[in-house]
Chain length 477, copies 2
């Protein structure tokens, strides 16, 4: 652990990102290309994400299960679009117990196929529906260019897989879970995502309709942060998931799937972080409050540490820790915990004790402006209020940033400029050709067609033909 | 879901075991040989195990992380005993992204090697020690003969991996975690395990000393239900995990590892279950209380369902559910929830409502003996008491069963009889030859040398030479 400065965001955002992750000990590179080790501090964020998402899944009637990681290769080939989308990315087990396998097994890149196979076995009648199952799992996709959290060979996620009686119910479920993701992102992670529908070219391989939540990172690039797919009857037909309906007729189910991964930790880092390091939203931060004792003499040390311990125990309902490492200066500790993004720092020195107060320093507002003295009598209440305020402020700042970097260009020329400095929200005819032209000219892709549409010119910004909907064009991770 | 009788334990214990798992929907066979799907009801047991174990790990200072599942094959070959123990069981990824890999990757059978590699990178000084990390993960071992939960190709577990300054600290940690397992097994799962040390031939591949918890199943066979390993400096030397000690000298760390897996669900099933199906200990049961409404007419139905809903909401602090399925009779429901092992059933009929009471039926005591009427005024308290009583009774019954099936044979002839009807606790000289002779003659193996030793003859029951310790001989899963 060192106390050197990290690269500034404005100098090299990508380098800033890597340094923050390594220095804050969120993750490390593994000895296998493209794989990561999620270190305890990073995993604690994921555990907090899991807790709050899992509660939302259970509230909406879902249960957890565990399906095998190894899938017969032939399963991947049953759904036409799915095989095209995933075959180039597969890790394949060809040897087991010292012998070459008759049929190779793929390490799951996603589990529609094996879960589809089991659903076909379990579902007989409309009485068995809906089936609403989620799993927390690791998956492997053989990516060429990898980045910690954003794109790694192995990553961690949850994948929900549901089966329904009707097309309407499946669409309802798809949107319900999209909204669960948005609610989580906005209210727990303070990441103000936009919900929308993906274009055909950005659809999940095998889906009828894909929806996503999209966040704007501090370099203005978009990050797809969670997806929800209406799979129609595609997988039900490929895997014979059939049921006797209320008229005693055999029908194919309507299925959905939806996932959110450790990539979301990348979204948190790049939405809130600054040149000092991470800034974690209080609701997901592994540590919400760090207490730093400040003393000069041994006499002071004893007195201050005793008081600091009292403060720590009074704050036990928060995720709170006293940093009593003797070998480091307060200044070193300030930098260290700022790098790690702890939302609130509490300083206690001899003067504070005399004044029956402590000093609180907000991570979201640097320097003196973020500091305030708290009367020791009001400690718990004030700390709770400050954490709430920080949570809200992070959401507000990120929302303002996105708003001020989202443009509605009046012409294609303006669009080309807009995607260099933010997002462009523009009417679009819906054609793959226009989408491809923007990509070629600017590297920006369609991120999503926001569910909430504003009024617009009615003409495609690229080709001028009639346009029903507006889409977000942006450079994306 | 059917309501047919399952095979009796006395007829075919193994068949009983499989039927209970499939019919109670704990797990199902996957399309890949030897793999299982853990269904929602089974996974809910695992989630309860995870919660209570994870809390114990955190109380003892451990943190969670996630290490990659794919390990370079060469890593497996660095520790001599480890490679011998695990090579025959490896699943190997040879193709990634459509190309043959330069170095094959193994799917982790356990993670000492890759974690050792990372620890070597992270640990520099005694100040970095101890490192106390756990991970909840899936692992793959290419087993030939598989059984749901007990031995599957892929299984779920936690694996703790720690690094220490001294041999003493490592031994202390190894025993601490063994005791955490025993405490969990006894007080949460009501599985009265014995803690002990493994013989050399049963040691973990690469360990200096292996300890285990061993439970007696209802067929009197032993099930190793969790292990804790003192790895000495074996892995530290193989992976160069070194630190500068307090005298500024370079030393190898002392490491440990310990694991408990979904196999433990098998222990719960086979410790408590009966001919009606599962019996789940209240502290781990996904459902603690099932409420069954009983009515004949539509009038009664309305009245009873209204009361049943009130009871359900009053019992919301328990894991409780009202079974209001209209298409099934109460009798069907009784059998169904008995099969699934719900510890307490509450029946509500018109007469109970008139009497201001409900009928409670304990799963652990069949028939009338387990039934009692509870005054509605005392509902929450009585239900809580009954669940506590059931939990204790399960532990007592299992402890009595083990005690009455544990023999202290006076001769080798008696030992051979003893292991056919239970466990034999006998003094043993410690030689691999005597161990092998017992195995050849009886199929029984040494399970563990109990930490708590009783006085004994001082002579090996097999060869008659001096014996310091007693060991448990038993047929094992």
């Amino acid at each position: 652990m060192s106390n050197e400065k990290i690269t500034k965001q404005s100098e090299d955002f990508s380098e800033w990102y890597n340094q923050v992750i390594l220095r804050a000990e969120l993750a490390d590179y593994a000895p296998v290309r493209g794989c990561m080790v999620v270190r305890p501090y990073g995993w604690a964020i994921w555990e907090n994400i899991q807790k709050t998402l899992d509660a939302r899944f259970k509230e909406t009637g879902h249960v957890n299960a565990a399906f095998p990681m190894l899938i017969p290769k032939s399963f991947m080939e049953k759904e036409k679009e799915h095989v095209e989308g995933f075959s180039p990315e597969l890790a394949v087990v060809t040897i087991g117990g010292g012998e070459v396998l008759e049929e190779p097994l793929v390490v799951r890149p996603t589990s529609e196929t094996i879960i589809g196979h089991m659903y076909a076995k379990w579902i007989q009648s409309y009485r068995d529906l809906p089936v609403l199952i989620n799993q927390w799992a690791n998956v492997v996709r053989w990516e060429m260019r990898t980045r910690l959290f954003l794109r790694t060979l192995e990553f961690y996620w949850q994948e929900g897989h549901t089966a329904h009686e009707t097309s309407e119910e499946a669409e309802e479920e798809t949107l319900r879970m999209l909204n669960v993701y948005a609610d989580f992102a906005i209210n727990e992670a303070a990441v103000p995502v936009i919900t929308g529908r993906k274009s055909d070219s950005e659809r999940f391989a095998g889906a009828v309709r894909t929806y996503s939540i999209e966040g704007m990172m501090k370099d203005t690039r978009a990050l797809q942060s969670g997806t929800s797919h209406n799979l129609g009857q595609n997988f039900a037909k490929a895997f014979n998931i059939q049921f006797l309906d209320r008229n005693n007729e055999l029908q194919h189910c309507w299925t959905t799937s939806w996932g959110l991964s450790t990539r979301f930790i990348g979204a948190i880092i790049m939405t809130h972080g600054d040149d000092q390091g991470l800034i974690l939203p209080p609701r997901l931060a592994p540590l919400q409050v760090i207490i730093i004792p400040i003393y000069r003499s041994d006499d002071e040390k004893e007195k201050v540490l005793a008081e600091a311990k009292k403060v720590e125990s009074r704050l036990s309902k928060f995720r709170c820790k006293l940093d009593n490492r003797a070998e480091m200066t307060p200044g070193f500790k300030f930098n260290d915990w700022e790098l790690r993004g702890v939302p609130l720092r509490i300083e206690i020195g001899p003067k504070d004790i005399d004044n029956k107060s402590v000093m609180a320093a907000r991570r979201d507002i640097p320097g003196k402006a973020g500091k305030s003295s708290i009367a020791i009598d009001n400690l718990e209440g004030e700390v709770g209020n400050l954490l709430d305020t920080i949570q809200k402020n992070l959401l507000n700042k990120a929302t303002e940033f996105r708003t001020s970097h989202t443009y509605e260009p009046a012409s294609y020329e303006e669009l080309k400029e807009a995607v260099n400095k933010g997002w462009a929200l523009s009417p679009w005819c819906g054609s793959t050709e226009c989408e491809a032209k923007v990509k070629e000219d600017t590297k920006a892709t369609t991120r999503c067609i926001p569910l909430e549409q504003k009024s617009h010119s009615g003409k495609c910004i690229i080709c001028g033909t009639p346009a029903k909907e507006s889409v977000i064009f942006a450079r994306a991770y």
